[in-house]
């Protein structure tokens, strides 16, 4: 299953062939990361390797800094797939934020990270200095990070590079917002997500998934909304088999 998320490219460098870890192994912090080159490449020219989250360069070697499963994507991308609850802002990720304050030209948005992000009032579609967007404190916004690194305050926008909203902006009249782990969110957003496919068979509902672990669900009745919310929260630690039996049981037993 290929997880779709924006990889924070920490480093790339030239690597010598070494045989130790296979993709799919569980690694712990402090392990020195080495991998096996495919047999087809016979020339001794070193290859560039892109390291994603969980791997850090330390001089000549790459160390694992989070515990998790080693994943690989062709041709040369490696990362550690770890289960985590706390969100750390990353550039380009789309998140659900809650407006906490309006101060002058910017809104302060809570995204669940270590500091609040700022969202300019001009960063909405069709917003000008005279035409302010209709955003109140407490609203939910679906927006994207344009600046998100450890040294600066994170900044959000609700438009893409062409100036169109593209699905972003204020939303959430009715519905339920709840929090799940980051791993589940990545599995939901993957291109061939099985969880999403199973959920679609239940009943019609609207869902917004933020990469900060926040999910917003709205369905026709409150009961259906709660059912979907409970299912998502509980299917985190189930195998595919258990999940499908649970969904089937709920679909049979419900209205």
């Amino acid at each position: 299953m290929v997880c779709l998320f924006v990889c924070v490219i920490l480093s790339y460098f030239y690597v010598i062939i070494h045989v130790v870890y296979k993709v799919g192994n569980v690694l712990l912090p402090g392990d020195v990361f080495s991998f096996q080159m495919p047999e087809s490449i016979t020339d001794s020219k070193p290859e560039k390797v892109v390291c994603g989250p969980g791997l850090r360069r330390n001089g000549d070697e790459v160390l694992v800094c989070k515990s998790g499963i080693l994943r690989h994507k062709q041709p040369n991308l490696y990362w550690i797939d770890s289960q985590q609850r706390r969100y750390v802002p990353g550039k380009g990720e789309s998140v659900i934020g809650i407006i906490t304050a309006k101060s002058g030209d910017i809104f302060k948005v809570d995204v669940g990270g270590s500091e609040q992000a700022s969202l300019s009032y001009l960063a909405f579609e069709g917003a000008t200095k005279r035409n302010r967007p209709n955003v109140q404190v407490g609203d939910l916004v679906y927006s994207q990070f344009i600046i998100a690194n450890k040294d600066m305050e994170p900044e959000l926008v609700c438009i893409d590079s062409c100036g169109r909203a593209n699905g972003m902006g204020v939303f959430g009249a009715g519905g339920l917002l709840f929090k799940v782990s980051l791993g589940l969110v990545r599995r939901l957003l993957a291109p061939q997500s099985e969880i999403a496919k199973d959920l679609e068979k239940m009943f019609p509902f609207e869902i917004v998934v933020g990469m900060n672990g926040r999910v917003w669900v709205k369905s026709k009745t409150i009961q259906q909304t709660l059912i979907v919310a409970n299912l998502l929260e509980s299917c985190e630690n189930m195998t595919a088999q258990q999940r499908q039996t649970l969904f089937r049981r709920v679909a049979d037993g419900s209205i």
Binding site: G24, V26, L28, P29, G30, R56, N58, L63, C65, K66, S67, G68, I69, D81, S82, Q83, Q84, R85, R86, V88, G113, S114, E115, Q116, K150, D151, G183, S234, E236, N237, M238, T239
Partner: protein, 249 residues
């Protein structure tokens, strides 16, 4: 040469499903090797991700000593406490009965220094990391139990670390024998008590806390014994984490 060399290894694996249906488990291993070269540790077990509110949590059991750890972070920090280039780590220890006192403060200092040495706190400047440790039962080797549960909780929270650490306690009794992982009765009768935090990459001593009188030779002997015992603990960490991720593999 020890005359009775009995190796009895029983592994008991029990999968525990908590009400929250988290991917937690209890893994216990008993190893009873009567040889003077191998240190004996009490039965230990661990569980990760058992609390719903903290970002990372763990429970570590060594014999009868049991400790619960919770980690919050990276979270918002007060401007007075923030450090411009690294994360602010705060350790809070709660005893089983009563309010935390000077003894807890001293232990908090030991755990905090060990954690700061192994965490990559420069990746989260101007944030706060809070580690809360709660004593569930104290039957000796409390500081090493704190260290082990802290390490598992930090791993569970997904905080970037450069290495893992394990805590080992050694006691020197009145005869001069070295006992690893002593219980409360053995600690009380001992002449000296030492706790070391050993790192996983090069097995070096990260932190040491000692009480009592001992010679330099005895100290070196205890360090050697602790380094050997830490191998078992690191292997246990690896097995625990592997078991935890076995569902998503």
């Amino acid at each position: 040469m020890p005359s009775s060399l009995s190796v009895q290894m029983t592994t008991q694996i029990s999968y525990v499903k908590s009400p929250r249906q988290s991917s937690s488990f209890l893994f216990t291993s008993t190893m009873d090797v009567c040889a003077s070269s191998s240190p004996t540790l009490r039965e230990f077990g661990c569980e990760q991700n058992l609390l719903s509110r903290p970002d990372g949590s763990s429970s570590f059991v060594q014999g009868d000593t049991s400790v619960l750890a919770g980690v919050y972070g990276p979270a918002e920090v007060k401007v007075s406490k923030e450090i411009y280039d690294r994360a602010t780590l705060e350790v809070v220890m709660q005893p089983k009965v009563g309010l935390p006192g000077v003894r807890e403060r001293a232990r908090e200092q030991c755990v905090r220094e060990t954690c700061e040495a192994s965490l990559l706190s420069t990746l989260h400047p101007r944030s706060s990391l809070t580690l809360v440790l709660q004593v569930v039962h104290d039957d000796g080797s409390l500081l090493s139990c704190f260290l082990n549960s802290a390490c598992m909780a930090l791993m569970d929270a997904g905080l970037p670390m450069s290495c893992l650490f394990a805590g080992v306690t050694c006691a020197i009794d009145t005869d001069g024998q070295v006992i690893t992982d002593p219980n409360a009765a053995q600690e009380k009768e001992s002449r000296a008590l030492m706790t070391f935090a050993i790192d996983s990459t090069e097995r070096r001593v990260m932190m040491s806390s000692t009480r009592g009188s001992f010679t330099v030779h005895e100290l070196q002997q205890c360090i050697a014994v602790s380094q050997k015992a830490s191998d078992k603990i690191f292997q246990f960490y690896r097995d625990s984490v592997r078991r935890r991720y076995s569902k998503t593999l």
